[in-house]
């Protein structure tokens, strides 16, 4: 049952596994809910959706699956999905209702009758007790299956039912939306590697027990506390086309600085060349040589670029292409040097992913990054962190 529904959910990116499917059936079997479509909607939502970011998508799928059915046997002559109709009706109608409907004949007869009526029917029909259409007490069509009427789609009629999921109340929580600092911190937390370093101030019980057993007296061993030992190099694009994204980058930056102890950050403009800087007010007087950075920070540092990668292609590909100064070596060379030095690299792009195709420089940079460019959304950030923590082969 509900295979179609589950398939649609999976297609929409809601990860509904066999487990959830079985749980849903089990719950229906144990009669957790009253037999109403709204309750079914609530139950399937509680079973399948495990992330409030996906609630909106679930509503859309639910509406699509059940609306699709409605239009296919509502107004036009179309194939009627018998199995589905049967399944839904069996689940949702209580015995009294079933009997009422059965008085019309067996399932096959009802379906036969339905087909006949569909042929007879010439125009949209509302109310009444025979014709197919919206409302009414005929067992067919939108809000059919009297007396309660199983609302399968559309508006009006049985008031509440469809509105619940057609309203799409959870719209603003979809996780492709952009993020605030707390969420960024959560996403960044994926990037953790625990190590014990520093002062020994924690009792190491296992070694203490071992030592005590061996020596015969209480032999205390201490060890340093565990903490996050990931090292991070952050390169931020500033100025020009990055101005619209200042707020977003600030949020990312503040989240990153509070999350990582070993964080080094540098600024660049459009593309990385031989010099970067740490203070934007003194960016011409106090530059850090990029070679120095490559030599100073070990290969175990993880490298993150934040930039829109939108510029003239020459700024990347040609020596002397920089808009601000004469660079002796092309941006490509520098980017390659950096990605070679740091195997764990990702580029975060605040420009929505849909627009990447329109800019040639974005394509070039993406290629240079071996496709490791991610949109600066919660999802993209999560993917980037996954990439960074992957074992570098």
């Amino acid at each position: 049952m509900f295979f179609n529904f589950m398939d649609e959910l999976r297609a929409a990116g809601i990860n509904a596994s066999l487990k959830e499917h079985l749980v849903l059936l089990e719950a229906l079997d144990k009669e957790v809910i009253r037999r109403s479509p709204v309750d079914f909607y609530y139950l399937s939502r509680a079973t399948v959706v495990k992330d409030e970011g996906l609630l909106d998508r679930f509503d859309q799928v639910f509406s699509k699956v059940f609306k699709g059915i409605e239009t296919s046997y509502g107004m036009e002559e179309q194939e009627i999905p018998l199995d589905w109709l049967k399944a839904v009706a069996e689940k949702f109608l209580d015995e009294e209702e079933m009997k009422k409907i059965e008085s019309l004949g067996t399932w096959d007869e009802i379906m036969e009758a339905l087909k006949e009526r569909l042929e007879e029917q010439e125009k949209r029909h509302e109310g009444g007790s025979k014709w197919i259409g919206t409302g009414g007490t005929s067992p067919f069509g939108n809000s059919g299956f009297n007396p309660e009427g199983v609302r399968i789609g559309g508006e009006g009629g049985q008031k509440k039912a469809i509105k619940v999921w057609d309203k799409r109340e959870f719209q603003n929580l979809d996780n492709t939306k952009q993020l605030g600092t707390r969420n960024i911190k959560v996403a960044l937390r994926r990037l953790r590697k625990f190590a014990r370093e520093g002062a020994a101030d924690e009792l190491d019980i296992d070694r203490t027990i071992n030592g005590t057993a061996k020596k015969g007296w209480l032999d205390i061993h201490m060890r340093p506390e565990r903490h996050n030992a990931v090292k991070l190099l952050l390169f931020l694009d500033v100025g020009g086309s990055m101005d619209p994204f200042i707020k977003l980058c600030e949020e990312l930056f503040s989240a990153a600085t509070s999350e990582f102890k070993n964080l080094e950050f540098f600024y660049f403009h459009n593309c990385v060349y031989e010099g970067v800087w740490k203070d934007n007010r003194r960016r011409f007087s106090e530059r850090t040589n990029t070679w120095d950075i490559l030599h100073k920070y070990g290969h175990d540092y993880k490298l993150i670029f934040v930039g829109d990668a939108s510029m003239s292609p020459y700024e990347i590909t040609h020596p002397g292409g920089s808009v601000e100064h004469f660079n002796e070596e092309a941006g490509v060379t520098w980017l390659q040097r950096m990605t070679n030095t740091y195997p764990a690299t990702a580029w975060l792009n605040p420009v929505p992913e849909k627009q990447w195709g329109y800019s040639q420089s974005v394509k070039i940079v993406k290629e240079l990054m071996n496709d490791r460019m991610y949109p600066l959304t919660l999802e993209g950030l999560g993917d980037a962190m996954k990439e960074l923590t992957r074992k570098q082969g």
């Binding site: 487990k19 749980v23 957790v32 609530y42 495990k50 959870f170 959560v186 994926r190 209480l218």
Partner: protein, 281 residues
């Protein structure tokens, strides 16, 4: 056993369905939502409604999964060993039962609340998978298996600080408590303040929803803050006129301390008030 809300707790229909599914199938119910929308209270109310004892396990950043099962107090045993205490020969003297153990062996069917599971380390939920799925675990020190005769009702709350692993989520029912609309809010207020003046509530709710709508607030006030604020208004015997004053220069609601919990938010309101005053001139 059916949960239909209690006289102190307004449950929406979708919440009822989720709770009943979890209670009937005895699978954990994971509850998320803005802070102050009644996640923890829900567990208390389920316990009250079903007459079950409530076992609370408050998770902190340092909480480890095994602490919920049991802890073996090796240090105490070492000490007793040195002092030649008789108890040292029986290892079970040094096993301390955790909340899960308590819940599994409770004589009456309990409601187990695992509060703010996201506060703990990322691996924490993974370490509890088997225990919550099969409702049993093994005690290595004494070689016994603790198994729940009757699966307890488990409610888990999360503030979304960390993502929970998929395998864990698959075993739960999920409910997101969304911020109550006016209608539900009215019900909630009626439940908490049965004798409150209707006009006062209406005015207070107007102000409350206005405050929530102000763009750029760091922390939006939620249900629990509204209830605190109303309590404060009542105890201060705030005259209705104060709330009703249409004077834009008084953009900050009276006794705002209960609603705005962030000095930047208060500043924002003061600035708004200042601008309104200037415009009025």
């Amino acid at each position: 056993m059916r949960f239909d809300g209690t006289k102190d707790y307004v449950a929406t229909d979708d919440l009822k369905v989720a709770v009943n599914a979890a209670v009937t199938l005895r699978r954990p119910l994971l509850v998320k939502g803005e802070p102050g929308t009644g996640k923890t209270v829900l567990a208390h109310e389920i316990a009250k409604a079903t007459g079950a004892p409530l076992i609370e396990w408050n998770v902190k950043s340092t909480t480890k999964a095994h602490q919920g099962l049991y802890e073996y107090d090796a240090v105490a045993r070492l000490r007793d060993g040195q002092l030649g205490d008789e108890r040292v020969h029986d290892i079970s003297n040094y096993i301390r039962r955790g909340k899960l153990w308590e819940a599994f062996t409770s004589p009456d069917l309990p409601v187990l609340l695992i509060d703010e599971i996201d506060k703990a380390d990322i691996e924490f939920p993974n370490d509890l998978l088997q225990e919550l799925d099969r409702m049993e675990f093994h005690v290595y020190e004494t070689k016994e298996t603790v198994k729940a005769a009757d699966r307890p009702i488990v409610v888990i709350t999360s503030n979304n600080e960390k993502e929970l692993p998929d395998a864990f989520l698959r075993r739960c029912f999920f409910h997101y408590i969304k911020f109550p609309d006016r209608e539900t809010m009215q019900e909630i207020i009626n439940v908490h303040f049965p004798d409150i003046q209707g006009v006062l509530v209406k005015k207070a709710m107007d102000i409350f929803y206005d405050v929530r709508d102000v763009p750029g607030l760091k922390k939006k006030p939620s249900t629990s803050e509204l209830l605190d604020w109303l309590k404060l208004l009542l105890s201060e015997d705030m005259p209705l006129e104060v709330l009703q004053s249409q004077d834009p220069s008084k953009a900050i609601p009276p006794l705002h301390g209960a609603l705005l919990k962030n000095e930047q938010d208060v500043m924002l309101f003061e600035r708004l008030a200042f601008m309104a005053k200037r415009e009025a001139r």
